[in-house]
Amino acid sequence: MTNVAHASSSTPALLLERITCTFASREEQGERYTAVADATVSVGPGEFVSVVGPTGCGKSTLLNVAAGLLFPSSGDVRISGQPLIGINRRAGYMFQAESLMPWRSALDNVLAGLEFFGVERGESERRARDWLARVGLSGFETRFPHELSGGMRKRVALAQMLILDPEIMLMDEPFSALDVQTRQMMENELLELWSANRKSVLFITHDLEEAIALSDRVIVLSAGPATRPIAEFAIDLPRPRDVNEIRLTPRFVELHSKIWHAMKDEVLKGYAQSRKA
């Protein structure tokens, strides 16, 4: 196993240090559930890190902690060395579920962030149009979310996040609801946007192929409860990548089998637990 000590010279853009999240059970008084235990994850500046793990293992919990939406029971969150207080203002978050405001048009959804920061309307509109064009949605400005397809809504959400130019992008299985073709297209588009302006990315997924195709580094989580990282792998595939083609290269297959080998036991454990529950 190649546990790569990440050799980033500067301080990580995002550091989750010994995070533990314990929830009080809603059904039974006094009962506790530890979703994440003693997890340390770091993302270097401009690095694309994926976190893979079996379903229900607390991947989203980890991301919510990084976003500042969830306060950990113990542990530290550091953004470029600074401790995080409240919402993570330097991060953009792309959710797994529908996150667009249904009462706002595509354009108004994209410029929402700018509006919250008090950017003047003409300026924010111009930039939102530009971003919609960049994600391939010119001409859809006035459409409401329900008038767009699932893939289009994800693009709007992507533009909505990127318009604020976040230093860190937190992505929670953003493409898991899409069909395979749309998904691969979105993955390529994401890579293109990312390589044009390298941000730190923490990408959560349960799809190992997606993780390898996109990332610089893949972190494998153990099955829940008390999830923690059990292994990490550097992905030394050359960039720029095409997610469709790279899946066929020998190195990809090699990495895939290696990581899968590390994951397999955890996946089986997670599966057994979900069957018990």
Partner: protein, 278 residues
Amino acid sequence: MPKAAKPNARVSRGRLALYHALLLGGIFGFWYAMTEPGLITPFYFDDPTRAKFFFGQPLEVFKRIYTWFVGGSIYLHLGVTLIETLLAFAIGTFLGLVCGLWLALAPTASTLADPYIKAMNAMPRVILAPIFAVWFGLGITSKVVFGITLVFFIVFFNVYQGVKEVSPVVLANARMLGASGKQLLRYVYLPSATSWVFSSLHTSIGLAFVGAVVGEYLGSARGVGYLIHQAEGVFDIDTVFAGILVLTIFALVLDFVVTRVENRLLVWRPRTAETETL
């Protein structure tokens, strides 16, 4: 732009209107036949003019409505009823919206107020109308206040529900995009709650109207409810029915306006049928 839901077969639209007209004509025809003295042999009342006395006559009713509108005497009463309805509706909706937002966002206040709100909603509020007449006099104030008590709860419960059911993901997303507490209220909670207010709009304007008419009926010097009450006092059934008919048409017009406003403001809501039949 998607159009409002249409009956799916366009050809039958004209025919549907025809059937509506026929049904309406049938009802009035039946009414006429049963109440016109000497037209058919009486089978229930001994006196052939008795049916007319109890049920009125459609032609007389139309004549009454015609004189009201041509003579212009109805406009004052209609105007008063309209003002009462609109005021009760506007103030009730506003109060319901504010209280609904406030209680939904303040858990402590909500737990404290919950039993009282349930009790006030369970109370048969029609009983309050005479009390309001004592407190606020026979003018429009007592009717407006009564209408407000009816409208308030409908809007309140809808807004409360609407705020509670704002998607947590949409909310978290807005927070990640930098929305402050105030901005969350304005850009997320309020639009979400408004859609719930609109879904209750038909009910609440209807209740505002009921409040106005019942209030007038129980004690006033103006309004359509007052007209009906006066006519009942002298057994003038034709006028009573004329008043009811005017009120019904009035309510239909209000409902039509509400539908229009709703379609204009809720364009973002998904509709089930968006395909057009060719």
